[in-house]
């Protein structure tokens, strides 16, 4: 197992280094191999983590909660790595100037980004966790700016400024967590997570309360909670599509992971009431905002970004319910959302490639012109809107069930209403893009002679895999996964 973990750390980093120097074709292959291998490695970890925690080198600590997030990240890493081959192919075919430099930066950045997101859930130490997330910010900001358009520059600037300010608050949270820990564990407490959790009940209340709120606001900036989500629609829509998929599907989840760790400590020290209330407030605010904004979107990737805000709100609300089944739903939701959002972005990327425009009004007749990606995109949107039999339906159902079970009836009802609202917004836009027949002479520049056909098979395969995952998660999650989730719920509920 140690070899698995170490390989998981080394592989993406090596791939990044290789991509810096190698020609584009080699970089593609290396990235794809690294991605798929990492996913396989994490799958190998699942049965282990379902039974006991793993710890190596005193810096790494992997428990069931970590593996859930590792699964989400590694799946998207694999999917996106394969997808990128098709995504960058048109640029390579056209032989654009500077393409080799662009592709080197792109692949190196992609691998580095995935590396940091894989490393973060494995950190045993709150300080290292913060550092890992800080590095994800830095790398992803550069990736957002890589397109070098006006919009990309603006989005990257907003992103780095807001996210770094938020992480400054999160650093303050880490400092106060140290202070709280030092009161009980002595001045040389090194911010390890396990001792802090164990001595939870003895921690002084005020610093823990302060640390938790600061962590929610600080890491919530990276997670996309209202009101510090303002960078999110810009950054996710201006980044290249594979990066958007990783940002929405994995990075938000990893930031949520950080909040969960602070939640564990806060629940152990303060009791469950206060942390849950805080998360509920932020969750409902995010959900409300996203649902409203989804009703009036003009840009397909921006719409998907708001959908991410919506789902992050659902995650926060789910944790605030506190019932074990709600928590199980939360973890399942992390996995299912990663798959569904990845699918959606990847499908949107195909649409944008095909029709040459990001605007919803510029895309129509998707089902006719794209025999695979059209329906797949439609399925992805339906999955995001919590249609059965896909994974998100199952997870949201569990969350709502937990909510009613824990007598948070009002909150659960609000959740249902807002999710329906979001569904409405998403489906209107999607049907406009997919079902409405193509009007002649609509696309600027290119003639009405858009032929029916996929731009690239590489862009279809990952989406199919994603749909398969969603079906599996929705219909019958495998036994090991259920065991993992149960153990994760148990760990999160410690002290509840």
């Amino acid at each position: 197992m140690e070899a698995v973990v170490l390989l998981l750390l080394i592989l993406p980093f090596t791939a990044a280094l290789v991509s810096l120097r190698a020609p584009a074709a080699a970089a593609e292959a290396v990235t794809a191999i690294a991605g798929v291998t990492c996913f396989g490695l994490v799958l190998a970890l699942v049965p282990e983590a379902a039974h006991h925690d793993l710890g190596y080198l005193s810096y790494l600590r992997i428990d069931a909660v970590s593996v859930v997030f590792l699964l989400a990240t590694s799946f998207l890493y694999a999917a996106v790595a394969v997808y990128s081959i098709g995504y960058l192919a048109p640029s390579r075919r056209r032989g654009e100037a500077g393409f080799s430099r662009y592709s080197r930066q792109f692949y190196a950045g992609l691998n580095l980004f995935a590396w940091t997101m894989l490393a973060a859930p494995m950190m045993s130490n709150l300080a290292l966790l913060w550092i890992a997330i800080e590095v994800t910010t830095v790398v992803s900001a550069l990736l957002v700016a890589i397109e070098n358009t006006d919009g990309a520059a603006e989005a990257a600037w907003k992103y780095i400024l807001i996210a770094s300010a938020g992480l400054g608050l999160a650093l303050l949270a880490t400092i106060f967590a140290y202070y709280a820990g030092a009161q009980v564990l002595g001045e040389h407490y090194d911010l390890s997570f396990a001792p802090l959790l164990q001595s939870g009940a003895r921690l002084p209340h005020t610093p823990v309360r302060l640390a938790f709120v600061l962590a929610v606001v600080g890491f919530g900036t990276k997670m996309g909670l209202f009101p510090v989500h303002t960078w999110l629609p810009d950054a996710h829509s201006e980044a290249p599509t594979p990066v958007s998929a990783l940002l929405s599907g994995s990075l938000l989840a990893v930031s949520f992971y950080a909040i969960l760790r602070y939640y564990q400590v806060a629940a152990a020290a303060l009791g469950p009431r206060f942390p849950r209330d805080v998360l509920l407030v932020f969750g409902i605010a995010s959900l409300l905002l996203a649902a409203l904004y989804l009703l009036d979107q003009r840009d397909v990737k921006r719409m998907l970004a708001y959908s991410s805000v919506e789902h992050m709100g659902i995650l926060a609300i789910g944790v605030s319910f506190g019932a074990p089944i709600a928590l199980a739903g939360v973890f399942l939701h992390v996995l299912a959302h990663a798959a569904a959002k990845g699918n959606a972005f990847m499908g949107a990327g195909v649409l944008v490639h095909k029709f040459g425009s990001k605007r919803i009004s510029g895309i129509s007749g998707g089902l006719d012109l794209l025999p695979w990606s059209g329906p797949l995109f439609g399925i992805a949107i339906l999955a995001l809107a919590a249609m059965p039999p896909f994974g998100i339906f199952r997870s949201e159902f569990e969350i709502v069930e937990g909510g009613f079970g824990a007598s948070s009836n009002v909150a659960a009802a609000i959740l249902i209403v807002l999710v329906t609202l979001a569904f409405f917004g998403l489906s209107v836009a999607a049907s406009r893009m997919l079902v409405t027949p193509r009007r002649a002479g609509l696309a600027p520049g290119s003639a009405a002679a858009l032929v029916r056909g996929e731009p690239s098979a590489w862009m279809v395969v990952p989406v199919v895999a994603g749909v398969a995952v969603l079906l599996v998660l929705g219909v019958h999650p495998p036994a090991e996964l259920t065991g993992l989730l149960t153990r994760a719920v148990h760990q999160l509920g410690v002290g509840a």
Binding site: A145, I160, L172, Y179, E238, Y293
Partner: protein, 241 residues
């Protein structure tokens, strides 16, 4: 005829160390307010260097009085980084902003910061209100530090809050970046107060992140300037909704 000799002081006098360290921390806050006043980017960078220098001095003072040898290393490292290297990097970046062949090739360095929506005095009054909130909020927490007086923690949180105001009110990317760097200063001051015994690893990593952030900021400023030929953020309004 009452309360002269033997007037029990309403607020007891602090020790010389307490008073002195509070004064230095106060200097950090005043430097933060000073950044509102500075119109030239060059002066803002210098003020940032002064602020970082004050924090290093405070760290050395704490290390000397409270016998924490780790802090000497930290003070030296952060001093070297924030007082010397970062201003030099910023200066080179801003000097490079000017177009070649122009009258003043160092245009960026002497550029006037974009003014915000409120006038200066109103902004300062707003910042005072925000700092007051910081003071009251932190004092209500009753967190006692082992190494510095409680005023220092209140001051550090106020510095962070005022830095937020600075970032919001400024209208050009360089001032926003400097505002962000002063936010980091405020947080490192808070770290000094609450966690002076913190293991070196966190501090070193923190400085590493600062360096990386500066590199990224420099890159993005270049990108922005490369596209817009100016440092103003007035054009960064295309992404809405």
């Amino acid at each position: 005829m009452s309360s002269l000799a033997g007037a029990a002081a309403a607020v007891a006098a602090p020790s010389v160390y307490s008073g002195g360290s509070s004064v230095i921390a106060l200097g950090v806050l005043l430097a933060e307010f000073g950044m509102f006043r500075q119109a030239l980017l060059r002066d803002q960078v210098r003020l940032y260097a002064v602020q970082s220098g004050l924090i290093s001095v405070l760290a050395i003072l704490v290390a000397a009085v409270r016998h924490l040898p780790d802090l000497y290393v930290l003070a030296a490292l952060s001093g070297a980084l924030k007082v010397v290297i970062v201003p030099i990097v910023l200066r080179r970046l801003l000097r490079g902003i000017g177009r070649a062949g122009e009258d003043d090739p160092a245009r960026g360095w002497t550029e006037i910061a974009g003014s915000g929506s409120l006038g200066l005095a109103s902004t300062v009054l707003l910042a005072i209100a925000v700092a007051a909130f910081g003071f009251f909020a932190v004092s209500a927490l009753h967190i006692r530090s082992a190494v510095l007086p409680p005023a220092a923690l209140e001051i550090s949180v106020s510095v962070a809050l005022v830095a937020f105001i600075l970032m919001i009110m400024r209208r050009d990317v360089a001032s926003q970046a400097i505002g962000f760097l002063s936010l980091e200063n405020g947080i490192s001051l808070a770290a000094l107060v609450v966690a002076a015994g913190l293991p070196l690893i966190l501090e070193v990593a923190f400085l590493f992140d600062l360096l990386v952030a500066v590199v990224v900021l420099e890159l993005l400023i270049r990108v922005h300037h490369g596209r817009a030929e100016s440092l103003s953020t007035a054009d960064l309004t295309s992404l809405r909704g």
